[in-house]
């Protein structure tokens, strides 16, 4: 049956990528070894695929294709009978290719192409169910916000080209790493715009939760492997170019701090599992950016990998639940522990990783992020100590909140009085299980920081305990914080003001264009017509009048002549 064909293609792709990438999995550092294209004015742009992988890029590529493959397999069952399955699957493959292009090249133009093609793909996939208004709206919102951010990247590339005389990332970084970094503030801020939009950080965060109308596998793909991951990757990748601009780093830190906290809080109060997970993604990504701003990109990317694994797990699991109860609303779930054991176990692992409980990978990577933040809090990071400290404590708070909502979701979804239900088909379970395994497997070889291990575990356990206590007392975990449920109205500008302003401006322009700009032509035309009519009137066939006009003309002419000469 044909729908497996696309999974087959994806598998082939995955294998090829694996063969290409695995040799590059070395020890983790950003090394710089590339011929510097020296030349004052950069060359005309071209799209030569200068493939090159750093160890971390290799990891991300592998994650991408891995999750992508799993998603394809999952989709065969989840969406296999959809009339438009073909375009859906093909777009997924294009999506993966784009992500590979972003990660696997040093040619900034190729990177840009991949970057924006991803935006297009997510637009198409989120809008896959374009019959529904929410899907249309979510898709449009995602596309617009990310595209506006992408323009930042375009300009950033232009500035890089002008600064380093090349559009080759390695070349640029080579110069930069030799202490020759210039315009780092400009470049940094522009890159910041790009990644903030792509990875849904404050203030461009609201498109990610609104993208939930998209099919759940797509959500998993976007959140774990492709779209948002690209943002973090780019920020880490271009770190050398803006490292020595404190302004940029502080800005990044501030954004990260705000985002991680509000993301976690919003996740805490959601009544919809998918949306809650989406917000948790936002806040987790913020954690990674915090690490980068603290001068430790590796920590950030590590957490990216880990998060990719367990967030994909969680979303796919959520898909299984939806497949059973037919909705992603928490109210519809509950007590599925018995009915769907496999899903239960794997998602438990996922939530544990999210909460940062050992021995899941989430525990290790989050700890190294916290470690990095602590460093900068002590002032030996790239950030000013004050900012570092604030960021550090915010991060701790976030860890707590994260653990709380993880526990909450887990409890609401699976406990309470048992419900009827059945496991999802095998094609859907398999990826979930595999990811659950991965969530453990990836923790092999992760650095272990004892102190933070204890601290964070303590926080997590405490949080879980609180939730469990509340649950056992009140029997329900509905949090009534209207302000948070309204998500602080942060979205109002995008939903109300900007569209309204644009619409009004557009109306104005149309009116002016019709009645104002055209004035000269219309005026001329009507003037000509009027004069013409007037001439007809003067043309009374009365010769005496003619003679009068003639005489007047003669006098005028003579007077003019006399004055003139």
């Amino acid at each position: 049956m044909t729908k497996w064909a696309y999974s087959g293609i994806t598998a082939v792709l995955a294998v090829v990528v694996a063969i290409w990438a695995i040799p590059d999995l070395g020890d983790k550092y950003f090394g710089y070894f590339a011929p510097l294209n020296d030349g004052t004015s950069p060359p005309m742009p071209d799209l030569s695929p200068d493939l090159f992988l750093f160890p971390v890029s290799a990891q991300i590529v592998l994650l991408t294709v891995g999750v992508g493959l799993l998603v394809q397999i999952y989709s065969t069952a989840y969406l296999g009978h959809h009339p438009r399955y073909r375009s859906y699957a093909l777009i997924i493959i294009l999506f993966l290719l784009a992500m590979i292009a972003v990660v696997g090249t040093t040619n900034l133009w190729v990177l840009l192409v991949g970057w924006e093609v991803m935006g297009l793909c997510s637009y198409l996939l989120i809008g896959h169910e374009w019959e529904t208004a929410e899907a249309r709206a979510g898709a449009a919102k995602a596309f617009l916000m990310t595209r506006i951010a992408d323009l930042g990247l375009v300009l950033a590339i232009l500035v890089i080209g002008e600064t380093y005389g090349t559009y080759d990332l390695l070349g640029a970084e080579l110069v930069a790493s030799d202490g020759g970094a210039e315009n780092s503030t400009a470049i940094g801020l522009l890159v910041l715009v790009a990644v903030v939009g792509k990875s849904a950080q404050f203030p461009l965060h609201s498109w990610l939760p609104d993208a939930m109308p998209g099919p759940t596998p797509i959500t998993a793909l976007i959140h774990a492997a492709t779209m948002v991951a690209a943002g973090v990757y780019l920020a880490a990748r271009m770190f050398p170019l803006y490292r020595d601009s404190e302004l940029v780093l502080v800005a990044l830190a501030v954004i990260a701090g705000i985002t991680m906290l509000i993301g976690a809080l919003f996740a805490l109060v959601q009544a919809d599992l998918k949306r809650a997970l989406a917000w948790s993604t936002v806040s987790q990504l913020a954690l990674m950016f915090a690490a980068i701003s603290a001068g430790d990109p590796e920590a950030g990317t590590d957490h990216l990998i880990a998060h990719g694994a367990f967030k994909a797990l969680l979303f796919l699991g959520c898909g299984c639940l939806m497949h059973t109860v037919g909705s992603s609303a928490l109210s519809a779930m509950g007590g599925l522990r018995k009915a769907m054991p496999v899903t239960f176990v794997s998602m438990t692992i996922g939530f544990a990783a999210l909460a940062g409980l050992a021995p899941t990978v989430g525990f290790f990577t989050k700890d190294s992020v916290l470690e990095a933040l602590k460093h900068s809090a002590d002032g030996d990071g790239t950030l000013p100590a004050s900012v570092g400290q604030v960021l550090f404590y915010v991060a701790l708070a976030t860890t707590f909140v994260t653990a709380v909502y993880a526990a909450r979701l887990w409890l609401i979804a699976f406990f309470g009085e048992p419900k009827e239900g059945h496991e999802a088909p095998r094609a859907m379970l398999l990826p979930v299980v595999l990811l659950a395994v991965a969530t453990f497997a990836l923790s092999i070889g992760q650095p272990f920081h004892l102190g933070f291990g204890l601290v964070s575990t303590g926080i997590a356990v405490l949080a879980t305990a609180v939730v469990v206590y509340a649950w056992s007392n009140r029997g329900e975990l509905d949090i009534d914080a209207p302000l948070l449920t309204r998500e602080l109205d942060l979205d109002t500008p995008y939903t109300r003001w900007i569209p309204a302003i644009t619409r009004e401006a557009a109306r104005l322009v149309v009116v002016v264009d019709r009645d104002g700009v055209d004035a000269y032509s219309d005026g001329g035309a009507s003037g000509a017509q009027l004069t013409s009519r007037a001439l007809e009137i003067v043309q009374s066939r009365n010769v005496q009048r003619y003679a009068t006009v003639m005489t007047l003309g003669v006098i005028a002419l003579v007077v003019a002549g006399v004055i003139w000469t």
Partner: protein
């Protein structure tokens, strides 16, 4: 004799002729106005001729020609006016053009 006498006279007559052309209702009388203008011109020509003592009498010759031309014009003009009268039963300059 001062040259200005005939010149001023010519100017005045020319003005009167203009008035005649522009004011008279009867076509023939408009024509007479033109004649008056031509005569004014003749006065000028003759006066200048006499003043310049032109051997080849440019002025006076032209005067003669003007008189002849005037005759021709009058002839043609009267013919047109008569035809006009026969055609539209009036030579009232306001009515000639008015009704089509």
């Amino acid at each position: 004799m001062p040259l200005l006498y005939p010149l001023i006279l010519a100017a005045v007559l020319f003005g009167i002729g203009v008035y005649g052309v522009l004011a008279r209702r009867n076509a023939v009388l408009m024509l007479l106005g033109v004649e008056l203008m031509l005569n004014a011109v003749n006065l000028n020509l003759v006066a200048f001729d006499a003043w310049l003592e032109d051997e080849i009498h440019t002025g006076q010759s032209l005067t003669l020609f003007t008189i002849a031309i005037a005759a021709a014009e009058i002839g043609l003009g009267l013919a047109i006016i008569l035809a006009l009268f026969r055609a539209v039963r009036t030579i009232d300059v306001d009515q000639v053009g008015a009704e089509s």
